[in-house]
Symmetry: C2
Subunit: 432 residues, 2 copies
């Protein structure tokens, strides 16, 4: 395999795997002249995951919540981006093996995040629609719209019900948000766009394994969200697990069977896996065990940040929640620590500053667990919008998202209802 | 095959194949209570083709130049849309065979447009990038960006040149516009996003078979556009035909060979083909012969409008130019004629009102052949923008296109540089 063509200099080379919240925060903050930074990602853009569900439900264009890495890092010196898939780590050789060649490193930062956990069920992996990337969200949008189109000409009532039923598995923030968005489509879009479909032919099920929705938020938030979604007509099944998908039906552990062609799977994540990392370094959820400086246990030169790492802090004995703020704070601290290392200063340990959690289910409806305050309804919804708008990269993106939100709010219209398909032609990732 | 589930009423059923400029203008204008209108299209949206090249060159999002049919026709009574591919016409049975079932008609309107003409060359069809749909434009965007990414790590200079050379075949408006847009990417984007690529490693070739660009416009426009593109560094090859694509090279009829992995093919169109239409009814370019009322020769109940029809008017003995205004005017006239038919009034013959032609090659650079006036440069560019902005469907789309244009103009930045891939999962067009 050839090497990736990046100049070899006297600077220490830091290779970052993954440009999610953690990797991006780190790369953004690195500014020492003494380092060469290489970011590797399988996409050429950073994606703002909290709004993926709005892409999936035709409220926003994918470009509005994405930002090209090359544009973000234009003014950065000694910075390199490579669009590639990491295939393997050769830890002894200090080398990353990618789809486009090998790359050696002085310091490695693994910020590869997590992927959807299908709990080993191959059937579900094949039929289910996950929602971890812009492309998966687009696939969900395409699929959902195509189901409505096909239901129109379906004369068999059972097949029709399967086309129109939506089963969402996983009652965390993503599950709750997509359930809300699809039930708004049902209420505002279906009657106008598909007057021949009867509204009650479309049922949205939300299946959660534990005894409440938004398990990581307060009881109060759970109660409010349950009430909102129930009012919106979502059928909520708590304490239920999906055991299989057979002959067009989702089977639950209590024997219940839900006929559907649209199985949305947001029920859990598992850390991205690297072959050469010894099993003793892998903890719960496939997460890599790190010390308080985010160093992989036993290594001085390999760091792991974000959702993929498992770090025990006194307040979080089972690891931090797998959310953006943890990744960002770890990335920022690591930027400081790498520069401290260079100067021979002691490293600083990580402490998570939790600013709260938010979730929305639709217009005027949200829940917010802030530091000293729990909100729900309109106020929480406003807070939700401000927080998200502020966090999206790029002034133009903020502007376009805002226009879309205002537009959709006034017109009750999730307006990007397009079925677009596309892929590059000819040369792919691993050819050159 | 089952039938498409559309209510059978006493109203006359008009089936329109294709929701391009012609089909849309017709459907929009039909308002008689006496007709039931069914529009069939293989996409669920109308696409504004004149701006496809801006999608392909990462200047606009596909959604900004598309508009969902269902949204457009929401308030229309007796109107039905079906997402389907037309497979066959059973003229004797008054029936259209589609991927989702059969549909009978009282009147049939064929507005299916044209497709890219590869002149029977299978190799070229496989490797070339056409640009007739939003999805093809997205594929071109993805491909172009991926080529730049891959060129970075290419150590073989010949392979690298192939990755970076772009060959555009066809010097009509689309060819000229995409040549201009890619040369702006070369000038403004490459040096900032890919500082490791040398600008002169990327060459854009524009190959045209005739002796001038923009053959359908004035000599003056051709001269100005030739000058603009030459100044922008585009290599223009006139009086040259592509004969084949072999071992990574485009072969021209004079023996010249241009190494490239990116062959953009906008060199000609051929009318969409329907098996059951007798060869005597097919004219030049596969176009269907119609009379002055757009009736397919020999048929009272089949109409053909837009690019796919060939109508001889005194001023246009070889048929009208295949442009949007002809299609729109024919669609509008046909709406009137169908209602006249119902009332027993004589049909009105078609006369094309030519309002001129426009083309742009980049910032401040355009040519306009108006009725009494020929413009070029900044003024023509302003006219071009106003005309296009007015023609795009939807207030929000106009607003977002305008924001993008202003933004790109100020920042010299074609900003949606994303490689997105996506397709619906499971059920496809012809399953249900």
């Amino acid at each position: 395999m050839m090497n990736i063509q990046i100049p070899v200099t006297k600077k220490k080379r830091i290779v970052i795997i993954g440009g999610g919240f953690g990797g991006l925060a780190l790369a953004d903050k690195m500014c020492s002249e003494e380092f060469q930074v290489v970011l590797i990602d399988r996409h050429n853009y950073h994606q703002f995951q909290p709004l993926l569900y709005q892409v999936a439900s035709a409220g926003l264009e994918p470009s509005s919540i994405s930002f090209p890495f090359r544009k973000n890092f234009r003014k950065k010196m000694n910075f390199y981006f490579r669009l590639a898939e990491v295939k393997d780590l050769l830890i002894e050789e200090h080398t990353v093996v990618t789809s486009i060649g090998n790359l050696s490193y002085d310091y490695l930062v693994i910020a590869a995040g997590t992927t959807t956990n299908f709990f080993g069920n191959e059937t579900i992996r094949k039929v289910a629609l996950p929602m971890k990337s812009v492309e998966e969200a687009l696939t969900l949008r395409n699929t959902l719209l195509l189901r409505f189109e096909r239901a129109l000409d379906c004369s068999n009532p059972e097949t029709k019900r399967s086309l129109l039923n939506v089963v969402i598995v996983g009652g965390g923030a993503t599950g709750v948000e997509i359930a809300g968005a699809i039930s708004e489509m049902k209420k505002y879009i279906i009657p106008k766009d598909y007057p021949d479909l009867k509204k009650d032919e479309l049922t949205i099920y939300l299946v959660e394994g534990s005894d409440r929705l938004l398990h990581s938020m307060s009881e109060e938030a759970s109660v409010n969200v349950l009430r909102y979604l129930t009012d919106m007509g979502v059928v909520i099944l708590l304490n239920k697990r999906v055991v299989n998908y057979e002959s067009g039906c989702v089977l639950l552990n209590d024997g219940q069977s839900l006929p559907t062609n649209t199985l949305i799977w947001v029920s859990g994540v598992i850390a991205e896996h690297f072959n050469k990392i010894s099993p003793e370094l892998i903890g719960h959820g496939g997460r890599l065990l790190v010390n308080e400086f985010n160093q992989l246990k036993g290594y001085q030169d390999i760091f792991v940040i974000g959702d993929i790492c498992l770090q025990n802090e006194d307040a979080y004995p089972n690891g931090h929640p797998q959310v953006a703020p943890v990744a960002i704070q770890q990335g920022e601290l690591l930027a400081d620590n790498l520069e401290r290392m260079l100067k021979g200063l002691p490293l600083m340990p990580f402490t998570y500053k939790d600013r709260g959690a938010l979730a929305t289910v639709g217009r005027n409806k949200a829940v917010a667990d802030l530091k000293k305050l729990k909100l729900h309804g309109f106020m929480a919804w406003i807070v939700w919008m401000i927080v998200h708008l502020r966090s999206i990269l790029g002034v133009k993106n903020k502007l376009i998202v805002l226009i879309n939100w205002v537009w959709n709010y006034i017109t009750y219209d999730q307006s990007v209802r397009f079925i677009f398909k596309s892929s590059p032609k000819g040369h792919h990732y691993n050819s050159r």
